[in-house]
């Protein structure tokens, strides 16, 4: 093996310029992969953070059967007690209660379907950016049971502004239609058509006035300081609240997780195509190098080097080529990732908006990168794998050479 490695390294050095150009190609591909992954991972992190904050929490506690119930028929009857229990269990976390009621909101100018989200304003402001997205008026006060915040598009549809009245009608449980008046405290803009046109926010107490159960909540969510503790926290919450459904965010909001996974797979396919193109370059280099040395291979065979070891020598060249390029590529990729992590990338001017919608979630156009160390650890293997794969055909050619023809090759 030492002999094969020595020969492989020296043969690569022998044609230094050609080897360097090929290695630069692989390294550049990996640098791009690493930097783009940091950016994409940052975008996913931002999206998941927003989705977790907006749609649930790291751990979501709800009544059994609530998952998939878009009518809001399943509610926690004693949400205050559940929230207090979770606050005691997770002292460093933010615990939010939410009551979601779907219905019709009307003004003198018109009406539209809406989902009213009853929230604890102080807790909610800690986990979502909605309080920063107020366009007119202000965020709700904790004891405000009369006030309501409307998405900007909804306010436009209803032709209402701060101080105006709207009526919300719903049928949260049973057959009885509930109806009550709210006063508009402000409008918000998330940048997502669905949220801005469909969501209205009031306090939990305000939403509970629409509900026959006085302490109702659709779910109580735990927002952990360290999302990495989600699994343990879920386990602890399940033990503390055995009669309720306790889900980690991955199960509570599966659509978003699946969207992120799908986005990653699309990227992987794109990188696979790029890798295949780079591999063509490696095949060319290794094949050229092999064809130039047919006579040498013939001599080595004549001296007793087995065909398999001859192929192993060519594969070793591919391995060394890939290993050096992968090390350089990942190092450069981390270097290129640093400004993306530190300063981020601002697409807002290019896109003409501060946020865009992805999987129904508002995603900021100012993305701060997050290094995915797991992927960074895999990239060297990817670089080496492609280089060795690209060497397979040249290696097979060498292994099947006829010694006598190879020796007399001109």
């Amino acid at each position: 093996m030492a002999l094969l490695l020595r020969l492989a390294v020296r043969n690569l050095v022998r044609n230094f310029r050609r080897s360097a150009i090929t290695m630069a190609g692989i390294a550049l591909g990996l640098t791009l992969m690493a930097a783009m992954n940091t950016l994409q991972n940052g975008s996913h992190h931002d999206m998941l953070r927003t989705a977790v904050g907006l749609l649930g929490g790291h751990v979501v506690v709800q009544p059994p059967g609530a998952q998939g119930d878009h009518q809001g028929k399943h509610v926690l009857a004693d949400s205050t007690a559940v929230a207090d229990q979770l606050r005691a269990l997770f002292p460093g976390a933010v615990v939010t209660r939410r009551l979601l009621v779907e219905g019709l909101v009307s003004s003198p100018a018109g009406s539209t379907a809406a989902s009213v989200r009853g929230v604890d304003p102080t807790d909610e402001a800690q986990v979502v950016d909605l309080d920063d997205q107020i366009q007119t008026g202000e965020w709700l006060a904790p004891d405000d049971t009369q006030g309501i915040l409307l998405g900007e598009a909804m306010a436009r549809t209803l032709n209402v502004g701060v101080g105006d009245k709207v009526v919300f009608m719903a049928q949260p449980e049973g057959d009885e239609v509930q109806s009550r008046l709210f006063r508009v405290r402000g409008t918000f803009r998330t940048g997502t058509a669905e949220l801005d046109g469909f969501i209205a926010i009031t306090t939990v107490a305000g939403a509970q006035t629409l509900h026959p159960r006085p302490d109702a909540a659709t779910h109580v969510a735990v927002h952990l300081a360290d999302p990495g503790e989600t699994r343990q926290a879920t386990k602890a919450a399940r033990a503390a609240l055995p009669t309720l459904e306790v889900l980690p965010w991955q199960e509570a909001i599966p659509d978003v997780r699946e969207f992120v996974e799908m986005d990653k797979r699309y990227s992987d396919i794109m990188w696979l195509v790029l890798g295949a193109i780079v591999s063509m370059g490696v095949v060319n280099t290794v094949l050229m190098s092999v064809l130039e040395r047919i006579r040498e291979f013939g001599i080595m065979t004549a001296l007793g080097l087995r065909p398999g070891r001859l192929a192993a020598m060519v594969l070793t060249e591919g391995f060394v080529l890939g290993a050096v390029a992968a090390a350089a590529g990942v190092a450069l990729g981390l270097l290129a990732s640093w400004p993306i992590v530190h300063w981020g990338v601002d697409y807002s001017e290019l896109a003409g908006t501060d946020t865009m919608e992805a999987g129904g979630i508002p995603v900021s156009m100012k993305v701060k990168g997050v290094v995915d160390w797991g992927r960074m650890a895999v990239y060297p293997a990817v670089g080496i794998g492609f280089a060795v794969f690209a060497s397979l055909w040249p290696a097979w050619k060498v292994a099947t050479l006829e010694p006598v023809e190879a020796i007399h090759h001109r």
Binding site: L3, I299, M300, A302, L303, G304, L305, P307, V404
Partner: protein, 230 residues
């Protein structure tokens, strides 16, 4: 009683097809080579010398006939087994030196020993001794492109003999050398034959090799025409 013949060739035929043309490089050759012989295969270009050498060395496969090397019938061996046989029993010296350009003189000379798995210290000592015996002491660390033609051919000889093979096959070893270097190389191989009992078979046009050989096999048109022992 040990077999005194290292090579037994019977009815050896080799036919090449080049497009529509069929070339009978060898037909029906019978030849025995005894241990310790110093034999020159001679004849005009195209007479079949190199073809015979390649077949005996297991580098090519016969169209018909048999070749027995040190008791092994070559036709029945796989490419891998043939490679192992060459590694263990044959040393090659080629016309155009054919050293591995990325290895130094010492590394070239120890190539076969390294493939055989001889421990590093032992092979270094043996190569140093072998290179000294071919007059290359002090040039161990030079790459082939830093050596003259004669020196390169000496390295090739050192590579062929360092592993003490049963048989050394040399194809036109003096063809690219000046007269003085050729004389020195022939003298060196004679000495190795005499001192170590190595069996040498040359394919050559060179009268100097013919003069040194103790057996001259004359070939023409793929057949042995004369077998002269001295």
């Amino acid at each position: 009683m040990p077999d005194t013949e290292i090579v037994k060739v019977r009815g050896l035929t080799r036919t090449y097809h080049q497009g529509a043309v069929t070339v009978n490089a060898l037909h029906g050759v019978d030849l025995d080579i005894g241990r310790g012989e110093f034999t020159a295969l001679m004849g005009p270009s195209g007479s079949g010398k190199t073809t015979l050498l390649n077949l005996v060395g297991g580098l090519d496969r016969p169209t018909a006939g048999s070749i027995e090397l040190d008791g092994h019938e070559l036709a029945s061996l796989s490419p891998r087994a043939l490679a192992d046989l060459r590694l263990e029993r044959i040393g090659f010296v080629f016309q155009a030196y054919n050293l591995i350009p990325v290895l130094t003189a010492a590394e070239n000379a120890e190539f076969v020993l390294e493939l055989r798995g001889v421990p590093r210290a032992e092979r270094r000592a043996r190569v140093r001794e072998t290179l000294a015996s071919v007059g290359l002491a002090g040039l161990e660390d030079r790459r082939p492109d830093e050596l003259s033609g004669g020196q390169q051919q000496r390295v090739a000889v050192a590579r062929a003999i360092a592993s003490r093979p049963s048989l050394v096959l040399a194809d036109e070893p003096t063809a690219n050398l000046d007269s003085r270097s050729a004389h020195e190389l022939i003298a060196l191989m004679e000495r190795l034959n005499a001192e170590l009992g190595l069996t040498f078979v040359f394919a050559t046009h060179d009268p100097k090799v013919k003069a040194a050989a103790r057996r001259v096999v004359w070939m023409e048109d793929g057949e042995i025409r004369q077998d002269e022992r001295r």
